[in-house]
Every structure is written in structure tokens, then in C-alpha cells.
Symmetry: C2
Subunit: 315 residues, 2 copies
């Protein structure tokens, strides 16, 4: 057994994780509902993990030593409340069990900052209460709770990376950074909330690097995958507008704040920094600059459309 079984390989984080793993020289078994482009070092597995016995066949075919499980339901906006979240608990547990029963030794899985009660800052793995206020956060945390026990039963060493906010090339155009960049690049008006809420953003490539660092470490349990820095959404949008031009077309305050939205969501990153030994490589300024350049290129090449206005409202 060798290599890495990577689920969600054509997803936002997954595509970047695939690149990071290949750059390390890992042999990757990449799982997606539709096969991705052929690449050296990658074996694609076209699998729908929501099918009850998909995991067993996949694990047998891949014979991987490590599992990086990123797949989940992720449709922008809808993912907070979709019943698909409930199905992914079961799919994730079936995958982990199949992996462990086949002798797999090490796994990392993607959790979320939405597992925490959001009324304190920074959010800490060790002592922040786990009281998810969304269905998404609850289903991720339910998976965390059960997967921890399944891993213990099967002798799998398991890390659980709690993802905060992210952005970068390949993001769904309906999500915050992409939508603002595309709207401004296209010369449109961009309505947003006041944007006073502060959030912990990390470039998707750093998120992917953090997951690979986590997978190849021997750290177990929950680890925040975050920058440790809270930026006001207003400042983030302004940073985008500085790259695209058109700051005067951002209509701050036109969208109402989301009910119950916390003022600050930021992660304590001491586990990620000190135990995993990970440091982000991309500053927010560099990351936004590169991301805007990437979207500009997508627009020029006709590979993306500008999303409908009025949807720019991150939680």
C-alpha cells in the first residue's frame, strides 16, 4: 500500500490539494463524480460516494496508505441548510470504515469553523463549545464525533481540519471574493452588506497545503485550518476593488446583515502552527491580487460568466 486517496478532488480545495500532493511526488487516487483531466501520478476514480457501497470498491481499487477526505455538499448558499449534509455524514463514515478495515493507517478529513459556538473569538480546538448553529456545521460536527470513534476502533490515526473562510482561483463564482471580483471586472454595480463583520480568510492553496501538512503529520483530533487573522469583509472587498478598479460601484450596506451573524469569526492557529508546523505562504494582499488576475483571465477566455448581482453575502 502506498499513495493518497483524495476525495473531492475536483472541488475547490481538492483541485489545489491534488497539485500540492503531486508536487510532493505522491501517487494520488483522485475521487470525483466526474473524472478530471489526466495527469502524471494521478489515477482518477469516478465514484459517487453517496451510493451505499461505493466506498468499499473504491478503497479496494486504490489501496492507498493515506486518506484525505474533502468531499462534501458545497453548493454556495444552499450548503448551509441542504439535507445533502445529512447524507454526507453516512458517506464519510462508510469511507473511513472501508479505509480502516482495508488497513489504511492515516486520514485527514475536512471539518468547519461552523462546528463551534460562534460567540467567542478566537475559536479554539480545546475549549470552545461545539454548538453549531447551522445544519451544515452540525452535520460536519456529527461526522467529527462519530469518525473519531470509528478511527479509534480501527486503529486509524485521524486528524480533523476545521476550515474557516477561503478564496482563490477556482472558487464558485457565486461566493464572496469571486462574485465581487467578477462584478467589478465586468463594470457592474456590486451590492454588499455593510461588511463590518470580521472573518478569518486563507488562500485556498494555503488551505490545501495545510491539509497536506496535516495528513503527513501525526497530529490527531481537531485542528483549525485558518490564518489566525480576522479581516473586515469591507476591507477585503476594498482590497479586491483596488485590484479591479471600480470601488465606487461597491454599494456597501445595500444588503441587510444576515440574522444572527456573529461580529467576528477567527481561529486560534497554535495547533496548526506549533504542532503541524504549517505557515501560510500567501498574504491576503498577494492572494487577492493573484485571484483577481486569475478571474480576469477566465473572463477574457470566456471560461466564466458574471454571477447575478445581489448575492454577495458571506455568512
Amino acid at each position: 500500500m502506498s499513495g493518497v486517496l483524495l476525495t473531492g478532488a475536483s472541488g475547490f480545495i481538492g483541485r489545489h490539494a491534488l497539485g500540492v500532493l503531486l508536487a510532493r511526488g505522491d501517487e494520488v487516487h483522485a475521487v470525483a463524480r466526474r473524472e478530471g483531466p489526466p495527469q502524471d501520478g494521478v489515477t482518477w476514480h469516478e465514484v459517487d460516494l453517496l451510493q451505499p457501497h461505493a466506498a468499499e470498491g473504491l478503497v479496494r481499487a486504490a489501496e492507498a496508505e493515506r486518506l484525505l477526505h474533502l468531499a462534501w455538499y458545497a453548493a454556495p448558499g444552499r450548503f448551509w441548510t441542504s439535507p445533502e449534509n445529512e447524507r454526507w455524514i453516512d458517506a464519510s463514515l462508510r469511507l473511513l470504515r472501508a479505509f480502516g478495515e482495508a488497513g489504511g493507517g492515516r486520514a485527514a478529513m475536512a471539518g468547519t469553523c461552523a462546528e463551534y459556538a460562534w460567540d467567542q473569538a478566537p475559536l479554539r480546538e480545546r475549549n470552545t463549545p461545539l454548538e453549531p448553529s447551522t445544519l451544515y456545521g452540525a452535520c460536519k460536527h456529527a461526522t467529527d464525533v462519530a469518525a473519531t470513534a470509528v478511527a479509534r476502533e480501527l486503529g486509524v490515526s485521524l486528524a480533523w481540519g476545521r476550515v474557516f473562510f477561503l478564496y482563490g482561483p477556482g472558487e464558485d463564482p457565486a461566493r464572496l471574493v469571486a462574485a465581487v471580483a467578477l462584478g467589478l471586472l465586468a463594470g457592474e454595480q456590486v451590492p454588499t452588506s455593510e461588511g463590518r463583520q470580521r472573518r478569518d480568510f486563507l488562500h485556498v492553496r494555503d488551505v490545501a497545503r495545510a491539509f497536506v501538512a496535516l495528513l503527513t503529520s501525526d497530529v490527531t483530533g481537531p485542528v483549525n485550518v485558518a490564518s489566525g487573522q480576522a479581516v473586515a469583509v469591507r476591507d477585503l472587498v476594498t482590497l479586491i476593488a483596488r485590484e479591479t478598479g471600480g470601488l465606487e460601484r461597491v454599494r456597501f450596506g445595500e444588503l441587510p446583515p444576515r440574522a444572527g451573524d456573529p461580529q467576528v469569526i477567527v481561529g486560534d492557529v497554535s495547533r496548526l502552527t506549533d504542532e503541524v508546523g504549517f505557515q501560510p505562504a500567501i498574504t491576503l494582499k498577494e492572494g487577492i491580487s493573484g485571484t483577481v488576475a486569475w478571474w480576469e483571465e477566465q473572463l477574457r477566455a470566456g471560461r466564466t460568466a458574471v454571477p447575478e448581482a445581489g448575492r454577495v453575502r458571506p455568512r
Copy 2:
């Protein structure tokens, strides 16, 4: 819509809950893998809830106003570690969603004291850490976490009853009280552990009454279903032997203690007492006496066998 949808209706608690509901005059839709005996007021539904779409059809057929979900994997000994626990997370969530989407308004579901970290006493719903040390406890708690969010999404009022230790007529013969009673009644030697560990035992009929009280209250969230009293297993066994005779055949200390077994597991019952308004009706002494009489009758009628010795070891 009216009536109660009762899952696990042929299980240990479920059979007693069925009786309690019928005595109240409720119309009961009783769910089990095999239909139970016909009774006035009961409609049986022969359903395997582990089948992916079982819940939708069941909920449509029953049109019940309330859901009492007791079904789970319960094979003595094996239930602590069986992968079936993972399947019941999904089955429970599918059932709750089908119930809520069909307009169901009130549900109570069975959790366990094994959801808590076991290093403090008494265990409290509000502030004891939820750190299950077993797969069973973890899967129950995962269900709790996700079901709480599903119920909130669908506007279902949900109570989560955390069951402690129980005994009474109809118990599986391999479990503690039944096995000791049967062994002693049959004149056998009964090896047990030292039995210094103290546990919170409640008669199964009181457990069933507590669940019905919970279901018909408007209390939401976790509620310990317990007596609030810890009895040493040694004293419980002695109580049984006083009814059966043969105390000298109990071989205390012949079985080793279970690794990592906590000294005391007892529930704080203030929510059950003050908020639900429930009081147990059966003292431990009365309960044991009645239970021994019931097993005696089962033996006389040839309706049970004496379980293999050496297995009397509750967690």
C-alpha cells in the same frame, strides 16, 4: 394527524413504551422488523429502518403527530463497538427528516449516558463534556448533534432522552440483571466482577414512562433518563440473590474489571424531575423483586434458557 409513531416497538424499552402509550389511550403506529402481537389501538408497521427509503413510506402510512424513536442496534456486548451504530445515525436522521417534512411536530429520541465524558458525577445535560469513549456513545451523540439541527430546520420540537442503566421484564438474558437472576434461579455458579463500580439503574417500565412523559411535554434538548441514584453493582447483585437465594454461588471478583471502566456513572435528574415532571414509580427493591418473579415464570414456562456463565459484566 394524530397518534404516536413508535420505533423499536418490540425492543426492551419499546415494548413497555407501547403499553404506557396504550394505557394513555394513544393510537400507536408501532414499528419493528417483525410485526408484534395484534392489540387494540396498535397498527403494526413491519419496516427495516436501515433501508434507505423506509422512513418516507412509513411516515406517509402512519400520519402520526408525534414520534418516539427508540430503535437502534442493541445486541448485548456487541452494541458498544458494532459498525451497525454508524448505520443508525443515518436511519435516525432520515426518519426525523421524513417525519418533519410530513408536518410532524413533536419527537423524542433515545440517547445514552455514554455520550458524556465519564470522569465526573453526576453527569449533567448542561455542562458535562460530551466526549464519548465508545463507538456506541459517539454514534448516539453524532445523531443528537445532527438531529438537533434537522429538527430546528424543520420546526420539529425535539427532546433527546439520555438513557442510563436499566433492567426489568423482557431484558435480553445476556444482560446483567437477567443473567444473574437466571443463573441463580437455575442453581448455577455466577461469576461477576468485584462489582464496586456504582451505576444508575432505572426499571424499564419507568424508563418507558419517562420517555412518554418527555414526548408529551414541551421540553427540548437533552434530558437524562435516570434515577439519580448510584447503586454498587455488588449491592444490586446481592439484592437479586436475596430474591432468588444462592448468594453463596455469586463469585464476586472472578471476572476482571473492564479496562477504563469509571467508578461511578450517575445522572443528574433535575431536568427530568423539575422540567418534565417525572417521578419513578418503582423502587429498586420492588423492581428487582418483580423482575426475578418474571424470570422465574419464564423459566417455569420454558420461555427462556439460562445464558452461558461468565458473561455478567456490565460496562
